[in-house]
Symmetry: C2
Subunit: 211 residues, 2 copies
Amino acid sequence: MERGDLFVISAPSGAGKSTLCSMLIEKMEWLVFSVSHTTRPPRPGEVDGKDYFFVSEQEFEELVAEDAFLEWARVHGNFYGTHRARVMEQLSRGMDVILDIDVQGAKQVKSKLPGAVTIFILPPSWQALEERLLKRGSEDKEKIKTRLKNAMKEIEEVSNYHYCVVNDKLDEAFEELKAIVSAERSKTRRVLAGRIDITRLKPSPDSWFLS
Amino acid sequence: MERGDLFVISAPSGAGKSTLCSMLIEKMEWLVFSVSHTTRPPRPGEVDGKDYFFVSEQEFEELVAEDAFLEWARVHGNFYGTHRARVMEQLSRGMDVILDIDVQGAKQVKSKLPGAVTIFILPPSWQALEERLLKRGSEDKEKIKTRLKNAMKEIEEVSNYHYCVVNDKLDEAFEELKAIVSAERSKTRRVLAGRIDITRLKPSPDSWFLS
């Protein structure tokens, strides 16, 4: 049985990660999001179990105590975590799983699953990042400054990622991301475990070749 | 300066490698073939310097003596070789280079350039391979048997390749191959060496963020 791959995608706020990941999920039917657990309150329109599993701090702490998370972190004052058993179950069914997590979470996942493929999404420039965050208009300037401070630290980690996509033009960035995710499915290990039966690549006993 | 990647593509005769490689070169402008040297006589329509550099056995031996080849081999009674300096020069200009070579050549290249990305193209089944070779009709049955004997040995090496593309439907195989070659350009090392200036990803001294 072909085992799926785990893709860890990180990016500073404003790089366009959420948009790009949603586009990926929509176009590639074998690809699924890992839905994170979080203690942050839902934003308007967010659905429990689809966007996140929204849990209380107490529930979250219980899961941590059970070692149920592949990674977890406190970001901007809220807890986020990836449920390990859930991810492993999806991978074993041959699905590719996307983890949309920050740099610290990515480090935890890499230490636990060294085969994970890591992708960093970069804005085309610092200025573009500032502009995108300011344009959103949903947060006050102090919060944006906190995000930018985190962004600066995160961008320094880019060289620890396997792949890097610069999101200047969304369509081009999407094509690049799609190629990265598609290519992984052509790794020999995966093809031989799933799509082709190697015994069909030997002459059968009644083959003309052996006559 | 962004350095290109070397792709080593191998396949048994009849797997459709030449067609797929030609399609790649046509669609991806930064991708070039490494033109091999060979002592085999040109087939109708083949152009010297484009399909191969056609040389005499004596010329070939002189190049071998000069250690001019990244790899060379005798296949079906003829010599084939890849000119090392030529490939290195293309890579250093940021181009991706495709080496269309057999399993033995691939081993030599990997030992000299461990960063080479290796791709194996498989037919969907042994029967399909036999049928394709017989349908060509350009060779007698004994030659086809020799090719099939080589094919059997080559297919055994598939697990030494990074990627594996099953050429059942040509269009799908091409998409897979394209994704593999495209993804390599998104490796962080390449992106940071070429497409993005990391200094542009830090706030400038007059940035709002620092005020």
